[in-house]
């Protein structure tokens, strides 16, 4: 038979355990993002052009190949690295070279980046180079945006849908 002091001791233990469980199940609170700011997320997966032009095979080359291998041109598998730049109100916030994925560099380049920016009205310029050119960009988008506190603006890139997409 248990003594009253034992019941009291058990009650204290259960109470303490419940307090620990109850408290740490929701506290202390954690601030993930300063709500006076906004966030721009840029993410896409896009394949650049092949690193060199396709080359036509000569007659001699074609003859040397097995009949089922005789394709007229040879194209390199490797793709160029993309170059992406993001400019907010004239200030570059992202300027990166994105190498192609894959062991042979023949996969799409991909990126997923987040930028914390001030709220308010901004001019955002998104630029992307996906060809063999070494200067300038192949895609360019200029957009006036208004960011509210805690807003998340996403930037995607889909050439089939016109290039840069803002959501």
């Amino acid at each position: 038979m248990m003594k009253p002091s034992q019941y009291l001791g058990q009650f204290i233990v259960y109470t303490l355990f419940a307090a620990v469980i109850g408290y740490f199940a929701t506290a202390p609170s954690y601030t993930h993002f300063d709500q006076s700011k906004a966030m721009i997320k840029m993410s896409f997966a896009h394949g650049g052009k092949p690193i060199t032009e396709c080359r036509k095979r000569s007659r001699a080359e074609l003859k040397a190949l097995a009949a089922n291998m005789r394709t007229a041109s040879v194209c390199p598998r490797q793709r160029v690295s993309l170059h992406v730049r993001l400019t907010l109100d004239g200030k570059v916030i992202a300027d990166a070279s994105l190498p192609p994925t894959g062991l042979r560099g023949d996969g799409p380049s991909k990126t997923y980046q987040k930028y914390t920016v001030p709220v308010g009205d901004h001019t955002l310029i998104a630029e992307l180079r996906d060809t063999r050119r070494t200067e300038g960009f192949d895609h360019r988008s200029v957009k006036k945006i208004t960011l509210t506190p805690g807003q998340s603006l996403s930037i995607d890139f889909k050439p089939a849908q016109g290039g840069f997409i803002y959501e």
């Binding site: 034992q6 058990q10 506290a27 601030t31 966030m39 997966a45 994925t101």
Partner: protein
């Protein structure tokens, strides 16, 4: 690692001593942390099944149905949701404490590696199960952990596109994702249950249910906390907004701020290396692995007592291989044996009275044989004089009686108190080697080798084979279960026992017994230890 283990062990022993006062050995939560983990798992499962009835998949539906569960049907589904959450949290606490305790008490080496390694794998499953549960609510917290989880996974170079892109904007997100989540939230706990079952496969008489009183108490505690602080959601997730302040469940979500501040690569290293290191602990130095028990077929009569008593399923029976007159013989699996000697204590042929030839029982420890044990008893007895001589048999994991400063007390150290064949008590007293015998070892309700003191209790109470012979005068035998921190209690018990020894009548027949004796070789009982 001793510098970590020793302080941890002392803290556990201290806390367990206090808990023994409040709960008693049978209800002490520290002695059934694993069983409590199981218990919470069932509570989480049952409460989860109930709230799943009302849960709906889909972007707004998941949140809205959870709000219905929480507010509209607060009196049942809401309480169930709270119990689901708090029991999950309690389960994490139990699992982690179970880990720490087994580590602190060095209970993971030798044949115990299997339980340790399978236990490590449960950590990933427990956390994964909990995290997927938080996603299902689809509130701001779910949004945060969903995106952070994807960003963490994206660090691995195995995905063609960043999978976090699925959460870039509301249009990127498909409500069917919840179907996958529900599947995961059910499948992962089922896999966990399978691993939990696997975890116990090398354990005999595994304790998977806490004592009823403890189960009731802990359920009432969960109910009380659910009423006082019901589990609620944050605002509904919105992928056009970034979650700000969050009330994290730190039992499950502690890793997310680490991912955010230290980077996903760090967290992968921490989790991966941590898991590997944890899993390798049983093989890290100092390696303590004495040779496993060996069966001596000349003396094994196939009685199966060693099989019944082995806490680790290391002894099994097989058909006789030596043409002996018995149907079966015992065989030891060296991979499972932890060399605790409990099988030796169970062997009816471990009889110290035997004088003809060498003392070789049916099963024995090569590096600490029964013959060596008898020699130790004889040697210890020679150092004692007077009419209050005590020989103490105690395990290496309990309180060390030699540090108590008791005069006229000899100590015979055992691997486990369950290693002592009861006939040694008879031998010590009937041969006049001591005036009293003290048996000591780990605290009641917990034993370094799981069941040693439980079996000793049964043998001493003459309820379990091999039983203490009736001729042994009970007044001359004292049994005290004491941990290393229970010195004061052990000292008081031994002092009182020793003081009474000279006053005991000297006419009991056992004092005059000499010669070869054999215990009755009754069939063993398949009794299970008390819960």
């Amino acid at each position: 690692m001793e510098f970590i283990k020793q302080p941890m062990k002392l803290v556990f022993l201290w806390a367990e001593g206090w808990f023994d006062r409040f709960f008693g050995p049978k209800w002490n939560p520290f002695y059934c942390l694993g069983a409590l983990g199981y218990y919470y798992f069932w509570i989480v499962g049952i409460s989860g099944i109930y709230i799943y009835i009302f849960f709906d998949t889909g972007v707004p539906q998941a949140y809205e149905s959870t709000e219905y569960i929480t507010h509209d049907q607060w009196y049942l589904a809401g309480i169930m949701r709270s119990i689901h959450r708090y029991a999950s949290d309690a389960m994490v606490v139990m699992v982690l404490m179970h880990f720490c305790r087994e580590f602190a008490f060095d209970r993971y080496r030798g044949g115990r590696w299997f339980s340790w390694v399978t236990g490590v794998s449960t950590l990933w499953l427990v956390f994964s199960a909990g995290i997927t549960g938080y996603w299902l609510v689809w509130d701001k917290l779910a949004q945060y952990i969903a995106i952070a989880s994807m960003e963490w996974l994206d660090w691995l170079p195995i995905f063609g596109e960043p999978i976090a892109r699925n959460f870039m904007a509301p249009t990127h997100f498909d409500g069917r994702f919840f179907t996958l989540l529900v599947f995961m939230h059910i499948a992962i706990p089922l896999i966990l249950l399978f691993i939990m079952w696997f975890h116990l496969q090398r354990i005999n008489y595994a304790k998977v249910n806490p004592a009823r009183g403890l189960a009731i108490g802990t359920l009432l505690m969960l109910l009380a906390i659910s009423l006082l602080k019901p589990a609620v959601s944050h605002e509904m997730a919105n992928l056009s907004e970034v979650p700000g302040e969050l009330n994290l469940d730190w039992f499950y979500l502690w890793a997310y701020p680490m991912i955010e501040h230290l980077g996903p690569g760090f967290m992968w290293g921490f989790a991966g290396l941590g898991t590997v290191l944890l899993a390798l602990i049983p093989w890290l130095p100092p390696k303590k692995r004495p040779p496993p028990a060996v069966v001596n077929l000349d003396n094994c009569n196939g009685c199966t007592r060693c099989v019944t008593d082995c806490p680790f399923r290391a002894v099994n029976m097989r058909a006789r291989t030596d043409g002996g007159p018995f149907k079966e013989e015992a065989v030891v699996d060296p991979a499972l044996c932890v060399s605790c000697g409990i099988c030796v204590g169970a062997c009816p042929t471990a009889m110290p009275f035997r004088r003809a030839g060498a003392l070789v029982p049916g099963i024995d420890l090569p590096d600490f044989s029964v013959e060596q044990l008898r020699d130790q008893v004889n040697a210890v007895a020679q150092s004692l004089q007077g009419d209050d001589r005590i020989i103490t048999f105690g395990c290496n994991h309990g309180c060390d009686p030699t540090r108590l400063g008791v005069k006229n007390l000899g100590f015979v150290a055992l691997r486990c108190s369950g290693m002592l064949p009861p006939s040694f008590i008879d031998y010590t007293l009937s041969k006049g080697l001591a005036d009293g015998v003290v048996i000591t070892g780990c605290r009641e309700g917990e034993c370094h080798h799981r069941l040693g003191n439980v079996w000793v209790d049964g043998r001493m109470a003459r309820e379990r084979d091999p039983r203490l012979r009736r001729r042994v005068p009970e007044a001359r035998v004292l049994k005290v279960w004491a941990a290393p921190t229970d010195r004061r209690n052990l000292l008081a018990e031994i002092n009182a026992f020793q003081a009474g020894l000279p006053d005991l009548p000297d006419d009991d027949s056992s004092k005059r017994l000499v010669g070869i004796e054999t215990d009755k070789m009754a069939a063993p009982e398949k009794t299970e230890p008390a819960a």
